[in-house]
Point group: C2
Chain length 120, copies 2
DNA sequence: CTCGACAGTATCTACTGGTAACTGACTACT
DNA sequence: AGTAGTCAGTTACCAGTAGATACTGTCGAG
């Protein structure tokens, strides 16, 4: 029941946030940092198949949104550690609800897709 | 075959579903159909600022995924009614969790963004 | 004196989200 | 008779972005 903001207003900030959550990599990053801080390469290797440019974009956006902090250690070789903020961590529950839904209905969806494709 | 729960495997169907949910319009369509079936124009006008081409794409994809049904009445002028399937309706709860999170944390996020932009 | 580690940039291409105009079959208005 | 309007899209086109690939800087190790 949406009382507060009008999700259908294109200017509604809620929609902006939905866009963020909809971003393919944001969710994955949150799930990766769930167990503790990680470095850039750890994230990149852990997620897999993500281009560094895209990962950087995602991380910067999440930092800007206050979902995580970026800590730079001016060493050689460089070291950068990403940590979830409390707000970022509070995302884990909503995301879990989503992934649980996805895993529950996954078979039905793939089945539906195959039927659809068989006809069309 | 893909093991069930590995969200980090690019081939994991869960990720495909996350992509769908991340789609800007899918969520809006579900929220619109929450209160009952609607016609194409009703959806288009209700959502606002959505191009017919894009809406069609979204609806076809959702039909393919089994989230809604598309019923064509061969009349003139044509009439097409979109209805949520039970599976589509079951998405309302996860989406509500998400929008509630968004509304709760919206102020914090915009604040964080402003701070970030002020420095950078 | 080249190699590899780390945390990214730089550059280019492919795809897709979005805009504007058009279709087809009929009805209602002028 | 001719024109405009309705509905549910389609077609042609463009711009922005996601992604793939290659490169940068700095250092110690071999």
């Amino acid at each position: 029941m949406v009382t507060k903001g009008d999700v259908f207003d294109p200017n509604c900030p809620t929609r902006v946030i939905l866009d963020r959550l909809g971003d393919k990599w944001t969710v994955l990053v949150v799930l990766r940092l769930r167990t503790g801080p990680q470095r850039f390469t750890e994230l990149r290797d852990g997620i897999g198949q993500v281009a560094p440019k895209v990962l950087t974009q995602t991380l910067r956006r999440m930092e800007r949104d206050g979902l995580l902090t970026r800590e730079v250690f001016p060493e050689i070789p460089p070291r950068v550690v990403y940590t979830l903020t409390p707000m970022g961590a509070s995302l884990i529950d909503p995301i879990s609800v989503l992934t649980e839904w996805a895993e529950t209905h996954m078979p039905t969806i793939t089945q539906s897709q195959q039927q659809y494709d068989a006809i069309a």
